[in-house]
Each structure stands twice: as C-alpha cells, then as structure tokens.
C-alpha cells in the first residue's frame, strides 16, 4: 500500500505541473484505497496547486457588438464586463468563489451608524496603468459618473441610495439614505470600476484603469487585446489576454476545438456531449444566480387572486423544462428568486413541485373550474423560452388551465412585452445578495418590479433587514420574506440556469465564481496555463 501512496504523492506533484491526466490520477488514487470522488477532489487540488506565469490566453465570447464602448455606465454584457472591468479594472470590492465579498481596491471597509455610513479605506500604493496613484477623489468621481440626473448608467438605480460621498485622506465615506448591511456587495458591481480623474471627470475614454491587464487595443464588436500590468497588487499569471467576439455558437465551438481560442462561454447545450468527446476539451458548469422567471401582473385579473397565482405555480413541470429544454443544465426553481448558494437563502415549504391536483384545488378556491390565460414568450427573454412555454402549456392542461402561448417578436421584447403584457417570460441575471435581488425586482418602489407586487409586510421586512446588523435576526427576516414571496408573489421562478463553458485543458483554474459567467468575469486574473 505504501508504494501506492508514494506513487500517488509523485502523481500529485506531476499533476501540479499538468503532467498527469485526471483519469490516470483517479485510478492511482483508487488503487491506493481512496474512493473515486476523493481521487477527483485530490486531483483538482493538486492540479491547481502551482499556478505559473506565462502565455497568451485567448477567450471566445458570445457577446460583443459594434456599439460597445469603454464607458462602464453602459457595459451591456460579458464582453465589455470581462474586458473593461474583470481584466482592466477593479471595483472597491469583489466577490470570491464562495459567494462572499472581499476587499479589492479598498483594503478594508467599516460600517457605522446602523450601516448608514460606510468608510472604505483604499489599498496603499495601487496605481493606474499610467503610473498615477489611485486617490480617494478618483473613487468619488468614478461613483459620481453613475449618479445624478443626466446619468445613463445601468448602475444608477443601485447607487440611488447614496446621499453623499466624500474623500477623506485615504478613505471614501459613503452616506446612505437608510442603513444597508450589504453595501460592500453593491460596491462589487461590474459597472463601477475605478477610473482616473481628468479635469474633474472620470476618464473612461482612455481605458486606463487599475486592473491586472492594460488595454492595448479594443475594436468594438470584434475583439480586444490586453497585456499584463506588472504593477498590479496581486499575482497575474497570463502574459497577455485576448478576447474575440464570436456570436455564432457553432463558430465559437469550432474556434475552441481547432485551438484558435482557449475558452468559450455559452456552449451549445444540444451538442455539448460531442464537444466533451473532443480531445483536450473540458467543460465547466456553474449554477449561478441567474434565473428564468414568468412575472404576472398581480394588479390585473385573473392574477390579482393569490389562489390563481398558486394554481399556476403548481401547474408548471419545472423538472421537465430543465430536462427537456436545457438538457439538465440547470436547477428547477421553487418560486424563490434567491439562489440556494446565496447567504440567507431558504427553500420555501411546501415546495411548489408539479401537482395538477393541487393546482386544480387552488383554482376551485378561486371559484374557477377552468382558466384560460395568455402567456407571452420569445427567445429574447432567454434562449429556450418558447419551448419552455409550450411545455408549461402541456403540464398546465392537466390541471384544467388553458395556457394560450403567444410568440412575441424578439426585437424590442424588453420594451414592448416585458412589464407591458400581463404575463410573460423573463430573465434575471441574479444578484449576490437577497437584499439586492429583492430591492431590484420585488420592492414596491423598484423600477423593475415586474409583477407590480406590493406586499406591505414584505416591504417592511426588506427595509428592516437591510439595516439590521445582527446576522441571526437578518437570517430570520430574509427567510420570512422568501416564504412570503414564494406564497404570495407574482413570479413563477422556473429554474436557475447553469453557466456552461468549455476550455482547453492547457489552462487551469481554481474554484469558479457563481456571481457572473466567465468565472465572475474575472477569468483573466484567476486562470493560468497548466
């Protein structure tokens, strides 16, 4: 046995240098008396052990358009996010793979006055790509870039709670209109990289920021090239980082299998098994915070009756949708928009699993024998939304509910259908905290409260929990809110979708972040060549 252990130890070292394959390693581990699962874990640990510097990492992304710009206020998606924030910029804080928030450009942060005032202390000696020191004033202007009446920023609504911010030596002091214990999470948003100040305004045009890579070239809709920032405050492994926008999924897959790129996001789920068989290709799959929902306007009939809402929630066969439309790459929802990995998440009981009899009984409670409702859908909501709606129609029919599926045009879906039609398919990227998600789409004053759901007790709890600093009390409050939302709210949460990506086995990585796709959009600084 000890011989096997010795062999395994050697293999562990070799795995660290990428000289032993996962399969060989697991076989050795099993011979030494470990289970296959333990062997897998040991391999993963060993293979990640020794990141090393070098190489040009090439990334193929499904997003990217000629209208993209370097302005962080309007970063629309993973292309600009990964380039302009993950690779070339930093926010005050960042999310780690465990789903916790960590200091990034800030070295530490402290709340005071019931989390109404937050003091962020800047990391010392951090410089911009042009060599200038990062000052507290730069942070203030970078935040002001998103605030004020003329702002076009996607981060405007999340920063609306800031009533005052000022620089004080190495500190930045945020004053909020009400306490928010989760404010450090908001400071990790990808729209808020810190930019240098030129003439009193944030200079985003030059692309100079603080991140692990310096922008060399950016062609909107085509790609970008970056080189390592040698002065970055942390280790960065790749020498250079290139991004290519490849909107066509077949072209993206071909680019990976033929070795043109090392990583692609948003794999084609239908052909995933074929890609898996290609030599030297690995698939990574992360259940993120993103979820597919069907918000109903609870202010109009028949959705204004909570029994109708419950009937519809029990009439959807989520598992069938996950299995048939998404080939199992997701987790069926339970009408709770807070992903299971998020702090304070609960699984509301009783679970809303598919139960036509229960659905029928709730219909009866609403005084109805049958129900006919329109459901608007389009693949613009999320890829697969039309198929999901048709499966829903089938499962609802068994409960005496006639879903009239209306296929809307993809073009202008978010303008003309979402929040306009009483019931439609929608998508949320998800937020890293319960408070952030709820105040984005469930609070009575939220701009995107797409179910128009206004529950007094829920909103009371939301405000109270936000400023509560006692973790135990917060957990209780968030549990109650999630239960209320699931029982009473107007959102059918279909499922949490997985981020399915593929990469060449020439690159290695640690645990993957779930807050955004592409390893939390921070792949450039977190991966390395094995």
């Amino acid at each position: 046995m000890s011989e096997q252990i010795n062999k395994l130890k050697l293999a562990e070292k070799l795995a660290g240098r990428g000289k032993v394959s996962r399969r060989q390693f697991v076989q050795l581990a099993m011979a030494a008396g470990f289970t296959a699962a333990t062997g897998e874990l040991m391999f993963t640990k060993a293979a990640r052990a020794e990141p090393k510097k070098g190489g040009t990492f090439k990334l193929g992304v499904g997003h990217g358009a000629t209208t993209d710009s370097l302005d962080p206020a309007t970063y629309p998606d993973q292309f600009t996010g990964t380039m302009g924030w993950g690779a070339t910029g930093n926010s005050l804080t960042e999310m780690n793979a465990k789903g916790d928030v960590e200091p990034d450009l800030a070295e530490s942060y402290e709340p005071s006055d019931d989390a109404k005032t937050w003091v962020f202390k800047l990391r010392k000696g951090v410089t911009f790509h042009n060599g200038k020191n990062v000052t507290a004033e730069d942070v203030v202007t970078s935040y002001r870039h998103h605030m004020g009446p003329d702002s076009k920023s996607a981060a405007k609504s999340i920063l609306a709670a800031i009533t005052d911010l000022k620089a004080d030596g190495d500190n930045v002091i945020f004053t909020l209109n009400a306490g928010n214990a989760d404010f450090p999470f908001l400071a990790s948003d990808y729209h808020t990289p810190i930019m240098p100040t030129v003439d009193g305004k944030s200079d985003w045009q030059s692309g100079i920021k603080t991140g692990p890579f310096k922008l060399e070239k950016f062609e909107p809709g085509v790609g970008a090239k970056m080189v390592r920032n040698e002065n970055f405050y942390k280790d960065v492994w790749f020498d250079a980082f290139e991004m290519v926008s490849i909107p066509d999924v077949a072209a993206r897959t071909a680019a990976l299998t033929s070795g043109e790129v090392h990583y692609i996001d948003r794999c084609d789920l239908k052909t995933l098994d074929l890609v898996k068989m290609s030599p030297g290709i690995q698939i990574t799959e992360v259940t993120g915070y993103g979820h597919y929902v069907i918000p109903m306007n609870v202010t109009v009939a028949p959705f204004n009756d909570v029994n109708v809402r419950l009937a519809l929630k029990y009439a959807i066969d989520r598992k069938a949708i996950v299995d048939k439309v998404f080939y199992g790459h997701g987790t069926p929802g339970n009408d709770n928009p807070i992903a299971p990995t998020i702090q304070f998440a609960i699984d509301p009981q009783p679970r809303h699993d598919y139960d036509p009899d229960k659905a029928r009984s709730y219909l009866k409670k609403a005084g109805l024998d049958s129900l006919k409702v329109d459901l608007s859908t389009a693949d613009a909501a999320f890829a697969g939304a039309v198929d999901a709606a048709i499966l829903y129609k089938d499962s609802a029919a068994a409960a005496g509910i006639d879903l009239n599926v209306i296929r809307e045009p993809d073009d202008g879906y978010w303008d003309n259908v979402w929040m306009k039609k009483p019931w439609c398919m929608s998508y949320w990227n998800g937020r890293p905290t319960a408070d952030w998600m709820f105040s984005t789409a469930y609070a009575d004053d939220a701009a995107w409260n797409d179910a128009f759901w206004k529950h007094p007790k829920f909103n009371e709890l939301l405000k109270a929990a936000r400023s509560e600093t006692d973790q135990k009390k917060r957990a209780e409050m968030y549990a109650e809110m999630q239960q209320i939302q699931a029982d009473d709210g107007g959102n059918v949460v279909i499922m949490f979708n997985n981020y399915v990506s593929a990469n060449s086995d020439k690159v290695a990585h640690g645990d993957l972040s779930a807050n955004w796709d592409i390893d939390g959009m921070k792949i450039a600084s977190r991966w390395w060549f094995a």
């Binding site: 009446p149 062609e219 045009p409 073009d411």
Partner: protein, 324 residues
C-alpha cells in the same frame, strides 16, 4: 464613345436619386421598428430616466424629419455623422468606423472574385466545348449542388473538413483579421470564407457562360468558322466568346455585388469583421447613422457594378457601340 458617356452620366444621375430614395426608405423603416437606440443598448435595465438622458445626449429628442434633414445635409457635404455609440469625449465617426470594415469586405470579395470569376468562366467555356459529355454533366451537377445548399451549411461543412481536428486542421476557422495583419496572414485567414463563397457563386456564372456560348454557337457565322476548318476551342474563344460577353458580364457583376452586400451569413460563421456584420449590429442597436451609411454603400455598390456591366456590354458589342 459619346453614347457611352451619355449613358454613364444618365445612370449616375439616376443612381443619386436611387440612393436618396434608399436612404429615405431605410430611415422610415428603422423609425417603424420597436424601440430606439437607448432601449436597445440598455435592454432589460432601461428605466424611463436613463432612456430620456440617453436620447437627449444623442439628439433623439428632436423630431424625426429634423434628424433626417440634418443627416442628409451632412452627407451632401461628405460628413456621414457620428454613431449613436459616441459619448462625450468619445466621438465615433461613421466614416472611420466603416472604413476598416469596408476594406475587409472588399478584400474578401476581391479575393473570392479572383478565384471565382476565372474559374467559372473557364469552366463555362469548357462545359460549352464539351457540352453534353460526362464532364459537362459532372461540373454542372457539382456546381448546382453547391449553389443549392444554404451558404452557412457549406461554411460549416468546410469548417468540419478543413478546420477541425476531426479531419484536417489546416485552415483557420476564425477569419478574424487585424488591421495590421500582413497580406499573407490575411489571405490565410480569409481562405475558408473565400472557398465557401466561391462554391456559392460559381454555378451561376459558369452556367450563364455556358448558355451564352452555346446560344451563339447556333449562329450562321459559327457554322462558317467550322466550315473553314477552325478548331472547336478556337471557335469558342475567338468567335463565340466576343459575342457572348454581355450576358456573362452582367451575371459576373451581379455576383460581385452579392459578394459585397450579401455575405453577412458567411461573415457571422467565420467571425469576419466585414460590413454585413456591422450593419446587423447597427440595426439591432438602432444605430441609425451607421445603418444609413451601410445602406448607401451597399446601394452604391449595386448601382456602380450594374453600370459597369452595362457599359462593358455596350463596349463589347459594336452594334450598340456604333448605332446607325
């Protein structure tokens, strides 16, 4: 020669009117699309305030006709305006955005034309020479098969055969070219799209060449040539071809125009940064100035290539060149 000059001027005049009408139609068509630039860019994250701020900055708060007149006044002075993607301190001139893309499109079209035009005219001549033989049938069949498949299908087949580890991994599946890429690098990167497009357009030109030649071969003067003992290939190249140029040139011109304006699918499959992809992006984002400029370039391409075809048709036909 005067007749030709007159036709050129006349056509150019009509072309200008066509361009004006095209720009008007495109402008109105985009107005009728749901949503505007701000909504398209902000997507789900749009709120009324951010949309209003956006519209104000890019001037979309002005009435549509004023925007159109401003635009057309600019174009008449050679200024295609700025993209809506511009921001304060970050001007994106439409002309500057379009120039590298137009160059890429022209490069790919030119490269394809250099392969496809001689190939199809040559094959057409051979098919006419050996008409109704096995050779004729074979190349007809192959080219008809290749034109019958949608171009993306041919493109994917080409990738599987030539750019994946499955068969041969010798050509790049990504045709992404840099502005500073050298000529050979460009040609190498563009090889798969060029092959794909060649397969798509060869059939049309080849069959037209063959038909035009065979048509002429029925004329009495060809019979005369045959009687005097000219060899079959001499008859075709020296006697039949000069009288068959007009229809061939027309078809070649149409196909060249297609190479410039109709290759958006091929651009997508090979991720080639050409004008087609730019126009699709711009339409999706309702970036009107860019859409308008692309439409003008595409329309002008058609007008000019058709004009060239007509002029060549006249120049190669003495009866039209010297009318009584």
């Amino acid at each position: 020669m005067n007749a030709v000059l007159k036709i050129v001027l006349q056509r150019l005049g009509l072309g200008l009117i066509t361009l004006f009408v095209v720009s008007l139609i495109i402008f109105v068509a985009i107005l009728m699309l749901p949503g505007g630039f701000a909504e398209a860019i902000l997507g789900q994250a749009a709120t009324p305030e951010t949309v209003a701020a956006f519209n104000k900055e890019i001037g979309l708060d002005q009435p549509a006709y004023i925007r159109y007149f401003n635009w057309i006044a600019g174009v008449l002075q050679g200024d295609f305006g700025t993209s809506y993607a511009s921001r304060v301190g970050y001007r994106r001139e439409v002309a500057e955005m379009l120039a590298p893309r137009a160059f890429n499109t022209l490069f790919l079209a030119g490269m394809t034309a250099i392969i496809a035009v001689p190939l199809s005219v040559g094959l057409g001549l051979l098919a006419a020479l050996y008409r109704n033989t096995l050779f004729d049938r074979a190349i007809n069949m192959v080219s008809l098969v290749s034109i019958s498949f949608p171009e993306f299908f041919i493109a994917y087949i080409a990738i599987v055969l030539l750019a994946s580890p499955a068969v041969f991994n010798i050509l790049p599946s990504l045709a992404k070219v840099d502005e500073d890429a050298g000529l050979w690098e460009r040609i190498y990167r563009c090889s798969l799209p060029a092959i794909t497009m060649t397969l798509v357009i060869v059939a049309h030109m080849m069959r037209m060449t063959r038909a035009a030649i065979i048509n002429v071969l029925a004329s009495p003067y060809v019979e005369m040539a045959r009687l005097k003992g000219a060899k079959p290939w001499q008859i075709i190249v020296r006697h039949a071809l000069p009288n068959a140029w007009a229809p061939i040139v027309t078809v070649v011109a149409l196909n060249l125009a297609y190479l410039i304006v109709g290759v958006v699918v091929v651009e997508f499959v090979f991720t080639y940064p050409g004008m087609g992809k730019q126009m699709v992006d711009a339409v999706t984002a309702r970036d009107v100035p860019v859409v308008q400029a692309c439409a003008l370039v595409f329309a002008a391409t058609y007008i000019i290539l058709n004009l060239i075809a007509d002029v060549l048709g006249i120049v190669t036909n003495p009866r039209l060149m010297h009318p009584k």
